[in-house]
């Protein structure tokens, strides 16, 4: 009885804000002020969804987010799996030291290096560019991916690699033909974890992007806040549009999300 009540209470705590966001996005500003929480007698409408595409370059922000996220995840995964393979193959203290050096990037919060990183990106003339965002994302998300993938690759049977080396396969061949296919479960979990991080990232766009043409969704949302002040219907329309891909993928691949976020969390 108590358990059921607690579950329902927590459930409502999550569902009610979601319903509120959907409902509010279908109201006018006036309707929100008159009746902030209920359904207005004058009815709901979809005009915010049309307006936000007309007044904002929503398609552009969306495209930027897609490009930045997909490229960042792809290259971080590629480079991290190569490094993880390297670490799992190098025995003794050298492998340990390499692992420790890359692990540092996981512990130090991004805010600690934001000031020097900003001046570096500025000097390299990589501000206001998607390319700049991508390479910074790759560099800073690689450590966690290396951590997860090294753990997995160490469990792969060494005898298999040794047999193929005797057959004359080089490291590259072992990596592409054996390690990558065998690591696919771990790599897809890592990919989802990185996908969530990159899609939702605010800090680097905030630091490096000022030109509207290169803004990603979280930064654009933050701009709406300045522009629409307390126009919650419009803000929530933006929230829904920018969250929709993630929510849809989550509904279908929910198991993998949990596995991915777990792999990311369990690093103790």
């Amino acid at each position: 009885m108590v358990k059921k009540g607690a579950l329902l209470l927590y459930g409502f705590l999550i569902i009610i804000p979601m319903l509120m966001v959907i409902l509010t996005s279908m109201k006018t500003l006036q309707q929100t002020f008159d009746n902030p929480l209920g359904i207005p007698a004058s009815g709901l409408q979809f005009s915010n969804y049309i307006d936000i595409f007309i007044e904002q370059t929503m398609v552009g922000y969306f495209a930027n987010s897609v490009i930045v996220t997909l490229c960042s995840v792809f290259f971080a995964l590629l480079f991290a799996s190569m490094i993880a393979f390297g670490i799992s193959r190098i025995h003794g203290w050298v492998g340990g030291v390499l692992f420790a050096v890359f692990s540092l990037g996981m512990i130090v919060p991004a805010q600690v290096i934001m000031v020097p990183l900003y001046s570096l990106v500025l000097q390299l003339e990589l501000t206001d560019s998607l390319f700049g965002l991508i390479i910074v994302n790759v560099a800073v998300t690689m450590p966690i991916a290396i951590f997860i993938l090294t753990g997995f690759m160490k469990t792969l049977p060494k005898e298999l690699f040794e047999a193929s080396m005797i057959d004359g396969a080089g490291n590259w061949k072992i990596f592409t033909k054996m390690v990558v296919p065998m690591s696919l479960p771990s790599m897809s979990a890592t990919a989802i974890f990185l996908f969530v991080i990159n899609w939702n990232d605010l800090l680097y766009p905030l630091l490096f992007i000022t030109d509207n043409a290169y803004k990603t969704l979280p930064l654009a949302l933050l701009d709406f806040q300045g522009q629409y002040a307390t126009n919650y219907p419009m803000l929530f329309t933006g929230v829904i549009i920018s969250s929709l891909p993630m929510v849809l993928v989550y509904i279908f691949l929910q198991r993998y999300f949990v596995a991915g976020m777990m792999a990311g969390a369990v690093k103790g």
């Binding site: 705590l13 540092l104 934001m114 000031v115 790759v138 939702n200 919650y232 999300f257 949990v258």
Partner: protein, 291 residues
């Protein structure tokens, strides 16, 4: 079997990026921290430990930010760990309905911090928000206030939002930890006639220590990183009551263009995190048992 030297080639692309965009900035933070660089002008001077002295003796806002950060951290760690643990125990079994509840509770984790910030700003809104309306409805109207506008309430309003955002993720870690506890221990406890509380104290909690270590360490790191949420909800206000170290570094670095001073704070921040992480692991490791 010996691995050929070509294995080192696998490190090249990743290591170059990592060295340029992580190691170099991290190390240069130390260097900038002893200068008076403003981040723009080409010339700047070496000032020794002046920035550090200023941080610890002449900057009341920085002290306030550290205090706020600790308040936020403590609230989130205690509250989030309890919520996650209680619901993990309720939802321990892998039945269909439990998997659904876990998926629902996990859901907020996939949202962006900006989205979560907007949703909760609306809930906390003094005139339009759900919270004040809810208090009114249950007859607690006298508790109504502008949650994010009130100096004493704002940091807790943010901390509560952080718990809502991430408790589901911690819940899942605890469920995995609970699944790792062998069932026969519970059977033994049952036969011995242990009460539920005794079973929890003597079996569940000690064997859950590894998961608790992960949850608490991860929650701590997340709390220090809560930059996005704070930035989008209050910008550190009102009157610096929600300024945390991360937002203050941004403020000093990018609003008042004191890169040297911001770097010194970054270095102190790094030291605080290293210390807290170290202490936590030590404390929780010593509490581990083997059955």
């Amino acid at each position: 079997m010996k691995v050929s030297k070509s294995i080192y080639l696998f490190f090249i692309p990743g290591a170059i990026l990592y060295a340029i965009f992580f190691l170099y900035p991290a190390l240069s933070a130390f260097y900038y921290s002893v200068t008076n660089w403003d981040g723009i002008s080409p010339s700047y001077a070496f000032v020794g430990f002046e920035n550090y002295v200023r941080a610890f003796t002449g900057d009341s806002i920085f002290m306030k930010a550290i205090g706020n950060n600790l308040k936020f951290l403590l609230f989130v760690v205690v509250f989030q760990t309890i919520v996650a643990l209680v619901f993990a125990m309720i939802l321990r079994k892998n039945s269909k309905i439990n998997v659904f509840w876990r998926a629902l509770f996990f859901f907020p984790t996939i949202l962006s911090s900006v989205s979560v910030a907007f949703v909760w700003s609306f809930i906390y809104d003094p005139n339009l928000g759900l919270l004040n309306a809810g208090l009114e409805a249950v007859g607690l109207g006298q508790l109504q206030q502008g949650w994010l506008g009130d100096e004493s309430a704002a940091i807790f309003a943010l901390a509560f939002t952080q718990v809502w955002f991430h408790a589901g993720q911690m819940l899942i870690i605890f469920v995995a930890g609970l699944h790792a506890i062998p069932n026969d221990l519970y059977e033994v406890a049952n036969i011995e006639g242990a009460t539920r509380w005794q079973t929890f104290r003597k079996v569940t909690w000690p064997l859950l220590a590894p998961s608790a270590t992960i949850v608490i360490a991860y929650t701590t790191i997340q709390s220090f990183k809560a930059f996005d949420l704070v930035f989008a909800m209050t910008r550190g206000g009102p009157n610096y009551s929600t300024e945390i170290i991360a937002t203050y570094i941004y403020e000093v670095g990018f609003r008042s263009y004191s890169f040297g001073y911001a770097s010194a704070i970054s270095v102190i921040f790094m030291a605080i995190i290293a210390l807290i992480t170290f202490l936590q692991f030590k404390a929780l490791r010593s509490g581990r048992v083997n059955y």
